[in-house]
Symmetry: none
Subunit: 136 residues, 4 copies
Amino acid sequence: MIQMIINPSDELPIYRQIMRQITEGIALGRLKSGEKLMSHRELSEQLVVAPLTIKKAYDELEALGFIETQRGRGTFVCERLPQLDRRDQLDRVRQAARQLLLQAHLAGLRFSEVVNLLKQAGRELTDSRAKEKEKV
Amino acid sequence: MIQMIINPSDELPIYRQIMRQITEGIALGRLKSGEKLMSHRELSEQLVVAPLTIKKAYDELEALGFIETQRGRGTFVCERLPQLDRRDQLDRVRQAARQLLLQAHLAGLRFSEVVNLLKQAGRELTDSRAKEKEKV
Amino acid sequence: MIQMIINPSDELPIYRQIMRQITEGIALGRLKSGEKLMSHRELSEQLVVAPLTIKKAYDELEALGFIETQRGRGTFVCERLPQLDRRDQLDRVRQAARQLLLQAHLAGLRFSEVVNLLKQAGRELTDSRAKEKEKV
Amino acid sequence: MIQMIINPSDELPIYRQIMRQITEGIALGRLKSGEKLMSHRELSEQLVVAPLTIKKAYDELEALGFIETQRGRGTFVCERLPQLDRRDQLDRVRQAARQLLLQAHLAGLRFSEVVNLLKQAGRELTDSRAKEKEKV
DNA sequence: GTGGTCTAGACCACC
DNA sequence: GTGGTCTAGACCACG
């Protein structure tokens, strides 16, 4: 199970923060298919939030097809993760690219600077994934 | 005045959608300093939105220093626009970069492909800005 | 808005009973696309259940694409209802047909009797739909 | 003894899935009166289910009068099977008929098509029952 | 122990 | 007024 943190003063609701961390954990391979998640009660104690709040995050993730629950046994990352449309996926990437350029433009950065920033972010990401692997 | 679109079923509140489109319009140069904005009533009719909602967007924008109202004359883009905190700006860029990489990772793209996509998005953006200028 | 009833001692959870009545209402044309539903608070008073229970039903229906909410305005039947796969739809029909035959077999009915029962059920259904239309 | 399948992520509890398959097996004649059932342990290994879960299913079936255990000998299908209330049986048939019509309506089928589907399902059912008999 | 459901309240943001 | 979120409890069924 991955380490999670929540920030109660973030404008993103708590249950969404949890959803985001879990989906990103899955996307980045930190949560394997079939892996068991903490029970919502246990996680609620660890993060000091109400159990229902965690449950809501789990419920939405289940509706989206990322995780699945088995009564009395627990909650697990799905073996077959939901596949977005290829077109959908690329749309999201393009949307994120546009967002990046907009923010960069607002900050007055040149294109080469944006690419550098992107490279750096890439390094940070692969580093943290490497760390994960070492642990294993 | 720029053309705006609102989506009532978007998660982002309507008044925020309006704020975003105006600030981005300013940042991208589609709204010039000193330019007059539509009145509450006019805009509320055009967008089919309650006038109070428009007013809230304008009020917040005025509090942030992007626009100013002159009694009896209307609402105008400020001559001296507020500068965001430099650190804040860069944080937003980094956040957007991370988001782009994550989406790209989900779509299974390699880094070089991401950069290509980014270049393409850049071209589209500058193209549409050029068109805007022609109109003027 | 359709009339709903809930039976607290039914083994089907309350929020599911509500979901079922709404989806059936949509399927049978008693709830039109775009129609506004009662607010979850109002409905919770009418049915004498906790507001969150109604909200849960609405939330699940929204995740399934049957209804959509607009903050501050209310909850509405979607204009474009979710289309199941054709194959999926027919599978459900076949499954229901098998279930009917099984129950009929347990009750010792002959095939012709089953068809008669089906015809009768069909009449009841169209009758109640006709009544709805008269109201309008 | 009939072949059973359980699906841990089905909404229906595992012990109920077992009960359903046994009662249907009896109703359809695949399990004869007096026939011996597998022991808890054997069945729990075959289905990869906790022995207590099987025991619960057997206990409930015994309470309902479908099966009986003879100490030291095993568990057997009762010679005199319980008869459901006649009204109850017919109610179930009507309920299944309504369900079939609803699903058919959603799939846009006409009544004659429903009857055809029903006939086909009937053929499949009798075919599979014939096969069962051949095996014996 | 696990998840599933439900209650009765609360506060907030939005329209 | 509306929906959105959260809490702190409770009881049940399941494995």
